[in-house]
Amino acid sequence: MKKVDLVIIGGGPAGMAAAISAKQNGTDDILILERDHCLGGILGQCIHNGFGLHRFGEELTGPEYAYRFEKQVKELGIPYKLGAMVTDLSKDRVITYVSEEDGKTKIKAGAIILAMGCRERPRGALNTPGNRPSGIYTAGTAQRFVNIKGYLPGKKAVILGSGDIGLIMARRMTLEGCEVKAVVEITPYSGGLKRNIVQCLNDFNIPLLLSHTVSEIHGKERLTGVTVSQVDENKNKIPGTEKFYECDTLLLSCGLLPENELSIKCGIDIDRITGGAIVDNHRETSVPGIFSCGNVLHVHDLVDFVSEEAELAGKFASDFLKHKQIKRKNDVTVKAKGAVRYTVPQHISLSDEDVKIFFRVGEIIKGARITVSAGDKIIVSKKKPKVAPGEMENVILKAKDLSELEINEIEVKCEKEANDD
């Protein structure tokens, strides 16, 4: 069986950044396995700009951002395979992949980085009543048709879900000549970045219907319209508020789901809230030598943080290869409290570095207080004018503070500031 030191599953922004980081850390025997016929992952179809503001100080398009890493991968001579779909993964780090070039192949890896990204929640999972006509797509699939294949799905659209992909596609479809009648969002707030609301909806006079949902789908062969209803605070439809929108296209932007089939296959512990692996600050999963980063670990908003996280995974996977047995000592559990829904990492292996904890809240809070505490001791406390589910937050724990911890559990909490300033 072929042996490779470091195998990276996924050649998107996470996979590429991890590979570069590992190479720069001294690991040479790397192989990226990518199922598409080019590197770049989902960025290839994200032709809008706004990527790289934090990392490069520029507003790049998706392909431009991806290309910066692809160039480095090639310059560093990091091996990669395209059209290679990983179909199996075992706990003892045996990877099975299938490609036209190589057929079915098994590789024994010294370490693995999972960077498979995520998929979109489909209509079927929404259980919307009605017929099953053509004309219904998840926003990403529509994006692939428009931006990569060069085809317009339809002429009149309604978009369900105000996540970033839905907002971006509202603008994209409009620019290609489609009439986007409304973006419908079941919660009272939008799930996407504020700048996308402005640049994709407001600038194009596309109405955003908050606290609404698509309650029925019409049309037997091709979509002919949707019924939109208002919902109450429990997301139940309010009878009598139904309104019919004539359209031939319905785009769904109703959530991203980390694609962890392989992780589950090899028995990695999965966090029920993120849908991704449970990891420590080195991004190592519950299976030694298997690391995870990017959207497969938790859904990010900004690719800049994907790259940053992937670099961690790459470095520590490389370290793992150098000192084969890293004992997990001084492990500190991170608990989510208050409005915090989840944290990544979920636990910390103490060492000499600072640790950045990413987290998301479950509700909008204006005037929020974020605290990290260990028992009674407060380690970090900061204020934020506003936190929202659609914008990932982070808090940095200094190595010094971590080394002085007397207990092995810390809490990351977010709540409304008691006093109004």
């Binding site: 779909m85 299938v98 999972a125 259980n127 017929n131 099953r132 990403g140 317009l152 799905p153 000549g177």
Partner: protein
């Protein structure tokens, strides 16, 4: 002039076609949709019933039990997945206990083997996730599961391999009598036939020319659960039947999903296959009655099918006029009965003497499967179900050819997984376009006007 023209490529029409293809006859199947099994045959529970539910002495009872015995062999010949997983009918309380005992006796009368009445404890031993409120059960070891559209596709394919012609997008307008033969008038020309088999499902009454036959639609809604709930139950779990039907079941499918449903609602419109909020809620409630912790969060899709309910309460299989055999009201247990129905109908045709019956020496029971170039089997297109380009190419070119996205889906499962085609649909559509020469903007989801795309972008600039 055809010896036999079969109207409708549902499970009944296709299995009948395959049976006729064993003889030296000119046979064709006419279907108004773009593929087989686009009606009820594509939207049902997929159960091969043991036969205790049908009333003794009826055609339903006789053909159910016979079909149930023939199903395994037929599926094996055609390469269709079939599993004799057994069924348990649950009884909750005194009234149901009487029903269970009645069903047991009925089953014995119908000739059903391997029936057993179970106590509450015995039920829970077999199926720990079944409701604690179930006090009694009827266990039918001979009950099985099968893919209804999988069987229709394979039967039609094998029939075509053996010489049967298949005309899609051809809708029958009426059937008239000429001198000693029938003329089937369609929107795609006329077909002359010595014998016509009218297996047109919901419209078999309309085509029968017989005012004594009426068929009414009874809607059944379903939900399908993700494969990763496999193991929640392994037998098909029924509740006691009512006069509307067998009730809402919870069953594994041959693909590893779990299916919930169907409801039963008499409606007027023979084209109304919409799921409804009430219907889906009823499915959830019904499923929970049998399996309280059924993981409803794991729904991946929902759909509705229309049963053909005949006005006599039994299967109607008769000469509705000269040369015209009408099959009407083939609701449950239609799928199970299909091999037996085919046998029965072919025998009717033989007895009529209208056509000579000689066995076809060259008949091959196994399907001819088109082989794609070997490296194409290593190019995975559908990630969720691990389906390759080779599988899809094979589906497009094997009989019956797959010419839309749904047809590929029903043959190889691309698009049936967790993401429901979000990832693979563009790839599938492109492969169909490339292999058939149909331009991408003319590729449909399931025929007629169900185009998946409108036009090339920037087209308006020309």
């Amino acid at each position: 002039m055809y010896d036999v023209v079969i109207i409708g490529a549902g499970i009944i029409g296709t299995v009948i076609a395959r049976e006729f293809s064993k003889y030296c006859l000119d046979v064709c199947v006419i279907e108004k949709e773009n593929d087989v099994a686009r009606g009820a045959s594509g939207a049902n529970s997929g159960i091969s019933h043991a036969g205790f539910d049908a009333k003794p002495g009826t055609l339903k009872a006789k053909l159910n039990v016979r079909g149930s015995r023939m199903m395994e062999k037929l599926c094996r010949e055609l390469g269709v997945a079939y599993e004799r997983n057994g069924a348990i009918v649950l009884g909750f309380g005194e009234e149901d206990e009487a029903t269970i005992k009645r069903l047991y006796d009925q089953g014995i009368k119908n000739g059903v083997k391997n029936l057993k009445i179970l106590s509450a404890n015995e039920i829970r031993k077999l199926e720990p996730n079944v409701s604690e409120k179930a006090t009694i059960g009827l266990f039918a070891a001979d009950s099985g599961i099968v893919s209804p559209y999988g069987l229709a596709i394979a039967a039609m394919g094998n029939a075509m391999d053996n010489g049967v012609k298949f005309f899609t997008n051809t809708e029958v307008k009426r059937i008239i009598q000429e001198n000693g033969f029938a003329v089937v008038e369609t929107d795609n020309g006329n077909f002359e036939a010595k014998i016509v088999i009218n297996s047109a499902g919901l419209y078999s009454d309309v085509l029968s020319n017989d005012p004594e036959i009426t068929v009414r639609p009874r809607k059944g809604e379903y939900m399908l659960l993700d494969k990763d709930v496999e193991g929640v139950i392994s037998h098909t779990i029924f509740v006691c039947p009512s006069k509307m039907g067998k009730g809402i079941l919870v069953s594994p499918t041959t693909d590893g999903n779990v299916i919930l449903g169907p409801t039963a609602l008499d409606i007027e419109d023979k084209e109304d296959t919409e799921t409804t909020q009430d219907g889906l809620t009823a499915v959830a409630d019904g499923a929970r009655k049998s399996v309280p912790n059924v993981p409803l969060r794991k729904v991946i899709t929902s759909f509705a099918g229309l049963r053909s309910v005949g006005n006599t309460g039994d299967f109607i299989i008769k000469y509705s006029s000269k040369n015209l055999i009408t099959l009407a009201g083939i609701e449950s247990p239609g799928l199970t009965s299909s091999p037996a129905i085919a046998e029965y109908v072919v025998e009717m045709a033989r007895e009529s003497g209208a056509v000579p019956f000689r066995k076809k020496k060259s008949f091959t029971a196994k399907r001819k499967i088109y082989k794609a170039p070997p490296e194409k089997y290593n190019n995975i297109i559908c990630r969720c179900e691990t389906i390759s380009e080779g599988d899809i190419i094979s589906a497009i070119h094997s009989n019956p050819p797959a010419l839309d996205v749904y047809a590929v889906k029903k043959r190889v499962r691309a698009g049936m997984g967790r993401c429901q085609g979000g990832f693979c649909m563009p790839g599938v559509a492109e492969i169909i376009s490339r292999e058939t020469g149909i331009p991408l903007e003319k590729i449909t989801k399931s025929g007629r006007n169900s185009y998946i795309l409108l036009e090339k972008i920037k087209e308006g600039l020309k």
